[in-house]
């Protein structure tokens, strides 16, 4: 048993826009090699009142990126005098991912709502690309979902759908 193997999440994360905003989803398993280190992890992390992020890849890397972004967004909100936009949050995530691409191994999905653009989902995969999408999937478990989403996704769904 390699307890020194990095805590990787073995994750499936999803972010979807719908006609009222966004819905985020994630599984709750964190694995270290074959052992399940935490079966009740919370991979959806709050950045501000109106922006959340789904984390995948290295647990440590995604946590520290989230912490930095939450810190920067907090200052930004104070200076701006109003809630930060989802785009700003996603770009902060991108900056950290891109500028530290040699060190980080984390794929993130940023989702939230602001009064300018409504609900938005931004994918920030490994490497620090930023791509706005109507829906995003990530994590090692997402491989199984590409076909499903290609077939089943449609825009303007209700929350229940």
């Amino acid at each position: 048993m390699d307890f020194n193997a990095p805590h990787s999440m073995g994750t499936t994360i999803i972010g979807v826009t719908y006609n009222g905003g966004v819905v985020l989803g994630a599984d709750s398993r964190t694995s270290t090699g074959v052992y399940v280190a935490n079966r009740a992890s919370d991979k959806i992390t709050q950045l501000t009142d109106n922006v959340y992020v789904c984390r995948s890849g290295s647990a440590a890397d995604s946590q520290v990126v989230s912490d930095y972004v939450r810190y920067f967004l907090h200052q930004h909100t104070i200076q701006l005098g109003q809630p930060a936009t989802v785009k700003v949050a996603a770009n902060l995530v991108r900056l950290l991912s891109y500028n530290n691409k040699n060190f980080l191994e984390t794929g993130l999905i940023v989702g939230g709502w602001d009064k300018y653009e409504g609900g938005q989902i931004y994918g920030v995969p490994l490497g620090g690309t930023i791509v706005q999408q109507p829906f995003a999937i990530g994590g090692s478990g997402s491989s199984y979902l590409y076909g499903f989403f290609d077939q089943a996704w449609k825009g303007r769904m209700t929350k229940d759908e």
Binding site: N102, G127, Q133
Partner: protein
């Protein structure tokens, strides 16, 4: 920010690309430059993103197409935003032309290569200024040149031979588009990372125009597919 652990030489090492775009093809035609690229973003062998914009107008006179790592392309766009902003702030009536932008990009790419931390892209820069058409290319190791038609990646092997045969001075817009479509179709057939969602853009003295994405028609009418079981035994 977490980045500057300076002492270790590995901090600024080149790596491998993650999300990549495939070929860009461009040619000079009568009124300017035509450029084409598909909208795919591959993640290794998976075609992960199917709506990535790889052609962007730069300032008033240029068009940039990129293949390779998309995050590096997005960073280059930010550098160019700053370049164009400072150029506009001079407010002197002059504006950076395609030759100047190409030169700037070449310096950026070559300098990063010298630090062993390249921007993992092959860029195509085309434009028109004062009636002069310009089309150039620069890649991650700083190789740069200009020509009447250029391509990146697999486009160099598949599209350029077609262009060498069929390109001539003063192509009309329709002829240019047909030629580009011919090149993109070959790439669609033969490039594993190609996706059938093509964007064409043009730049002329009047400015840049990005056309809506479209799909190419492909031909699969092979006689072997009509009666698949005929000769099946022992065949490949």
């Amino acid at each position: 920010m977490a980045s500057n652990s300076d002492s270790v030489s590995d901090t600024q090492r080149s790596l491998y690309p993650y999300v990549t775009g495939t070929s860009v093809v461009a040619l000079k035609y009568k009124n300017g430059i035509l450029m084409a690229a598909d909208m795919g973003g591959s993640y290794g062998s998976t075609l992960r993103y199917k709506s990535i914009d790889r052609l962007k107008p730069i300032g008033k006179h240029s068009l940039l197409g990129a293949s390779g790592e998309i995050s590096d392309f997005q960073e280059i766009l930010r550098y160019l935003d700053e370049l164009i902003l400072y150029d506009n702030m001079w407010d002197d009536g002059n504006s950076l032309g395609p030759k100047e932008v190409h030169n700037y990009l070449t310096r950026v790419m070559y300098n990063r290569r010298n630090k062993f931390n390249p921007l993992w892209n092959a860029l195509v820069l085309g434009g028109v200024k004062n009636g002069q058409k310009y089309l150039g290319m620069v890649n991650m190791i700083g190789i740069n040149f200009e020509d009447n038609h250029v391509a990146t990646g697999l486009g160099n092997h598949l599209a350029r031979p077609i262009l060498r045969d069929e390109w001539h001075e003063n192509l009309t817009f329709e002829e240019g588009v047909k030629l580009l479509e011919k090149c993109m179709r070959v790439l669609l057939y033969r490039d594993r990372s190609a996706v059938n969602k093509i964007q064409i853009s043009k730049i002329t003295e009047e400015g840049a125009t990005l056309f809506s994405p479209f799909s190419l028609k492909t031909c699969w009418e092979f006689s072997a597919f009509k009666n698949p079981t005929v000769g099946a035994e022992g065949s490949w």
